[in-house]
């Protein structure tokens, strides 16, 4: 089997990650994020009618109620979603009765968020990210050592940047559900990294012989099957959710999908090389690396 030299080609992986992150950040700077009413305040109506209708007709009906700025979309088979600025309950009733008059309303659901609430949501999410990251650094430092923790966090930041970038590029709406999913999936990406690092820690004594990079390579190969299978297994239900779930579940699933893929990639191609880079600077490993067989570590691995 052809073996990829994960550590030797780290510049390539860093370049790939860097490019993806850069494109994402450029998009973020120019296009921004499509924030839902959860963050911006507004009212959103999900409605179904007694007869077949069109987006235009729904928009006209909203216009009659004085809301020509309504954004109308179809969701699912028979439902329409109408996004409006924040309305009072009376105004909401007026919109629905206008639609009932012209089309005939079957059932309706409203969600409306005031501006202060959106800010609270953002704040609580930021708080959650910071607290959980601090605890994770602490935990990983306790179980491993702080260099592992820092590499883990670097992979996390990478995953977060990629996820945010994907949301900006695709223009997919960011909801509170999305943010929660991203948060958890960061935890899950960590899970991947920890499994790789766990093996690295176990194999660390071997580094004295073949060099740190080679030991990390070997460790990654050992957990490779598990990484691929796990990623597949986790993706299966998530993809089902993306295909068959309703609106909110789709929001969750998309964020989970991006996070799982990015997490599986980053644990091998970001966290492990970073750890290697850092560890090789330690004297005990540096000497091994320098004193390695002739052509250095890359060749040594190929020769196996």
């Amino acid at each position: 089997m052809m073996r990829i030299d994960f550590m030797g080609k780290k510049k390539i992986w860093f370049a790939i990650s860097g490019a993806i992150v850069l494109v994402g950040m450029l998009s973020l700077a120019t296009r921004g994020l499509n924030l839902s009413i959860d963050f911006n305040s507004g009212s959103r109506l999900v409605i179904s009618f007694n007869r077949d209708t069109t987006v235009d007709e729904v928009r006209d009906a909203a216009g009659k109620a004085g809301h020509s700025d309504a954004v109308v979309q179809t969701i699912g088979e028979s439902r329409y979603q109408v996004t409006l600025p924040a309305l009072s309950t009376e105004e909401e009733t007026a919109v629905v009765s206008a639609m009932d008059g012209s089309i005939g309303v079957n059932e309706k659901s409203w969600k409306s968020v005031g501006p202060t609430f959106g800010r609270q949501v953002v704040n609580s999410m930021l708080k959650a990210i910071i607290i959980s990251w601090l605890i994770i650094i602490f935990y990983v430092s306790l179980r491993f050592e702080y260099k592992y923790a820092m590499a883990t966090i670097a992979a996390l930041v990478h995953d977060l940047a990629i996820t945010v970038g994907v949301y900006s590029i695709t223009g997919r709406e960011v909801t509170t559900a999305t943010v929660a999913a991203v948060l958890t999936i960061l935890g899950y990406s960590l899970y991947d990294t920890i499994i790789v690092f766990d093996r690295v820690r176990e194999n660390a004594p071997l580094a004295r012989r073949g060099g740190y990079a080679e030991m990390v390579n070997e460790s990654i190969w050992e957990v490779m099957a598990r990484s691929i299978i796990t990623t597949l297994l986790t993706l299966m239900p998530v993809i089902c959710l993306l295909l068959f779930g309703g609106q909110t579940l789709k929001d969750f699933a998309f964020a989970l999908l991006v996070g799982i893929l990015s997490g599986a990639y980053s644990s091998i191609f970001v966290a492990a090389p970073l750890l290697t880079l850092w560890k090789e600077r330690e004297t005990r490993f540096r000497q091994v690396t320098k004193g390695g067989k002739g052509g250095g570590k890359t060749e040594a691995v190929k020769a196996r």
């Binding site: 607290i131 920890i194 299966m236 998530v238």
Partner: protein, 469 residues
């Protein structure tokens, strides 16, 4: 106790747990408490304006609770959120608009003196609102037709008349002892109010002053009865009224009379509450969301089980069995009669994610076992060391997931809490089913000869040279 006895014991415990779970779950689907997003309903978050003390919030919560009780909704959920918010969850509300008005109404009742001259000037346009003296204010009174219905213009907006009143109230709702629905001689509904002893004295004083002022100026004195800055009625006062009773009349529909009585009875809110978040979910949307989520979850679970079976063969059978047990225990945990867990839409997402987590624990261990067998160990010892080494990894990884979920649970908004909760429940249960239970099963299976065939586990026979150094 030998290892074998220990494993048998673990399996017996597992079987008992499964049996208990089935008892808890049965009949399926009926006992699980569904969130409003899955069964439909109204969820409102009210926020107090300005600086508020905990005392005032306690009072406000009580007032809101009383009002919700009067709505007659079964099992309302009223909770404090943060320092200045109250969340209200109501399942199966028919008239959302009415519920919203009732819950959030400040119900500040005031009696104010009408200024007939300035009102006249304002209506005729000889005075503009910006010329109004600081001690006066403009309030509005909604126009009603003969049936008591609100008159609306062509845009559906209610038609109102402006009235100028003194900013300083003559008296307030504190003077009220009770309120009830009454009927006048034409059988039209009205609001009957009873004053406290002190309130009666004050009312007599105020009406006397108004009557005297009317007699001096030769104009009829009007007293506006103002509820939340809206004039409900503005009766004329000709004489001093020394009575503990007063009424609000004026062609008001019964429904509205009842609402006014209700808010007067439950008392005024000590703080102004505004709606910052409102979720109204129709029962059909909720049901659809639930069905879609469960369908997606079932398909996902089935795919995972098929994969495990194909890839790990006999080990896969064990893992699938563990997944089924996991599903049962998880369902029972959601339905348990002791600690209420509400299943929400985000909760379903968390639940589905845990299927992956549960399966992953087995993958980590099985890959270890395969490695150990490839390195030339016997199956029995490979199973043993696979679990010992795998467990540490799984513990670390799951701890981190639980930490993240816990933080989200503590910090995040209500909707997202459900996601974190099911994720935590799932991870903890999966540690038990995927690790402890499968280990006992495999250890017992290892006693059978047929088990000692690596191909049954999807493993190639051990290589002679060995992969590990």
């Amino acid at each position: 106790m030998t290892d074998k006895q220990k494993n048998v014991l673990i399996l017996v415990v597992m079987l008992i747990l499964v049996a208990v779970s089935i008892v808890i779950i049965y009949p399926p689907g009926e006992k699980t408490k569904l969130g409003l997003d899955l069964q439909g309903g109204l969820e409102v978050i009210l926020e107090a304006q300005g600086d508020v003390s905990g005392d005032k919030m306690d009072q406000a919560e009580m007032v809101v609770r009383n009002r919700v009780d009067k709505l007659g909704v079964s099992e309302p959920a009223i909770n404090r959120q943060g320092t200045n918010q109250i969340s209200v969850g109501l399942a199966g509300v028919k008239n959302v608009e009415e519920a919203m008005t009732l819950i959030g109404k400040t119900a500040l009742l005031e009696f104010k003196k009408v200024d007939p001259d300035m009102t006249q000037q304002l209506v005729t346009g000889t005075m503009t609102p910006d010329k109004l003296p600081a001690n006066k204010q403009i309030l509005t009174q909604t126009q009603r037709d003969e049936k008591g219905e609100t008159v609306r213009d062509e845009n559906g907006q209610p038609v109102t008349t402006p009235v100028v009143v003194d900013r300083e109230p003559l008296m307030t709702g504190d003077a009220l002892d009770s309120a009830s629905v009454g009927y006048d001689q034409f059988n039209k509904p009205k609001v009957d109010m009873t004053f406290t002893a002190e309130g009666q004295k004050k009312f007599a004083e105020v009406t006397e002053k108004l009557a005297t002022a009317g007699a001096i100026t030769g104009k009829v004195s009007q007293m506006a009865i103002v509820l939340d800055d809206e004039i409900v009625s503005a009766p004329t006062v000709k004489d001093k009224i020394n009575s503990d009773k007063a009424e609000i009349t004026g062609n008001i529909p019964l429904k509205e009379v009842q609402n006014v009585v209700l808010v007067l009875q439950t008392g005024a809110l000590p703080v102004e509450l505004t709606t910052v978040d409102k979720n109204e979910i129709s029962a059909t949307l909720g049901k659809d969301s639930l069905n879609q989520g469960l369908f997606a979850g079932m398909i996902g679970l089935a795919l995972v089980m098929i994969f495990l079976l194909v890839y790990y063969r006999l080990l896969g059978v064990v893992a699938d069995l563990a997944l089924i047990i996991y599903g049962l225990l998880f369902y029972a945990a959601l339905t348990n009669p002791w600690l209420t867990v509400t299943l929400t839409l985000p909760g379903i997402a968390g639940m589905i994610l845990t299927v992956g987590v549960a399966a992953d624990a087995n993958v980590v261990i099985f890959e270890r076992i395969k490695e150990e067998i490839s390195a030339g160990k016997t199956i029995r010892s490979a199973v043993n060391s696979g679990y010992t080494k795998g467990f540490k990894t799984i513990l670390d990884a799951n701890t981190v997931t639980v930490i993240t979920a816990l933080v989200i649970f503590m910090v995040a908004t209500a909707g997202v809490k459900g996601f974190a909760l099911t994720l935590m429940i799932g991870v903890v249960i999966s540690m038990f089913t995927a690790v402890v239970a499968t280990r006992a099963m495999l250890a017992l299976l290892a006693d059978f000869r047929f088990f000692n065939n690596p191909t049954l586990m999807g493993i190639k026979p051990p290589k002679k040279e060995g992969v590990k150094e």
